[in-house]
Symmetry: C2
Subunit: 195 residues, 2 copies
Amino acid sequence: MHPLLKQNIERTIAQTLPADSEKIFAELLLEQVFQKGDFLAEEGKPCHAIYFITQGAACAYFLDAKGEKNAMQLALEGHWISDLSSFFSGQAAMYSIEALEPLKVLVLKKENFTKASQAFPFFDRLFRILIQNAYVSLQQRLAKTNAESAENRYLAFVKQYPDFVQRIPQYLIASYLGIKPQSLSRIRKAMAHTK
Amino acid sequence: MHPLLKQNIERTIAQTLPADSEKIFAELLLEQVFQKGDFLAEEGKPCHAIYFITQGAACAYFLDAKGEKNAMQLALEGHWISDLSSFFSGQAAMYSIEALEPLKVLVLKKENFTKASQAFPFFDRLFRILIQNAYVSLQQRLAKTNAESAENRYLAFVKQYPDFVQRIPQYLIASYLGIKPQSLSRIRKAMAHTK
DNA sequence: CGTCTATTTGAATGTACTCAAAAGCGGTGG
DNA sequence: CCACCGCTTTTGAGTACATTCAAATAGACG
């Protein structure tokens, strides 16, 4: 089992992963590779898998009325990414997921997830906690969007995800923060001055 | 078992609730009543329960730097409300939950949740789906906050939650939408004109 | 090197905010 | 029943922050 995944799961459930669970898990996962610009999922089509990134960067976004990309999720290695709504409901995905760098992922397909979920209650628990954590992060992100200035949001982002700043295009970070790329550029300029 | 709760659970898991599960569930829940202005949870203290509202209205909010209430969740009868982060982690709550009307709730205490979760995998599944749905709604709310004007956000809110508009104070709806009460007042005025 | 995309910069505009005050509404007690 | 109080909503005027439109510069990639 990939060390990043093991680490991710153990941090999630706050206990070491039993050897048998580890084995079962490994059997359910499929390794896959994507080129930069490839899509792991596409808006409008069902998203049948959850991806764990072992190498590279990816982004889940939707296109707004003007055709601009709006990032909902940004992820580097060590993170999960998917359109969970589509994954669980089977409906069309609201987001496209695109590789921003050459990407290596572990794929958990819906059918394997369902199988495992029925056989091992452990899976429902793991995914309940994963989604729970995602939900809490999202709440905090929304709270900041409503209560903080664009500049403070960017400062908090840099602090929380320093690696992302280096590797994710600025226009995607801008949309993730709910601002326009031009505005983010000006904010960065102003910050460079003050420092 | 309260019909609103039964309905809520069956809609969540997309199947009728087995009679035995219903019985078990009913034993885990405690009825409780609050006056308008009472707190179900307080920012800074752990939140030990999840509440299902059977009558009345409630709001989960945090206080920003200026001491203004920022609504994270609004709920009428038929909805669940809690600070899930605090409930699951045991840490201090980020939100206060306040009764906006005389309130009747069914209380699911942490200890009962844990007991049930270990005895019946059904519970992990139910709560995984509940949180999953909450997560998806939150994503959509964030997407709208970033991509839509204040007016469109309010229009969408009115369409999605017509009952809330009648019963929740405007300044809380405003903060839920990420705008100031004065601005919401002006938006409503402009809408009345155009109609 | 040339093309395509991302980022920066400038100037003008606009949406929502701030500060301030008035009006409306609901509850309480004289 | 009316007067008063506190809180919510409305309105007005001025402001600020981020946006738009447009163009120039910088970077990535074949």
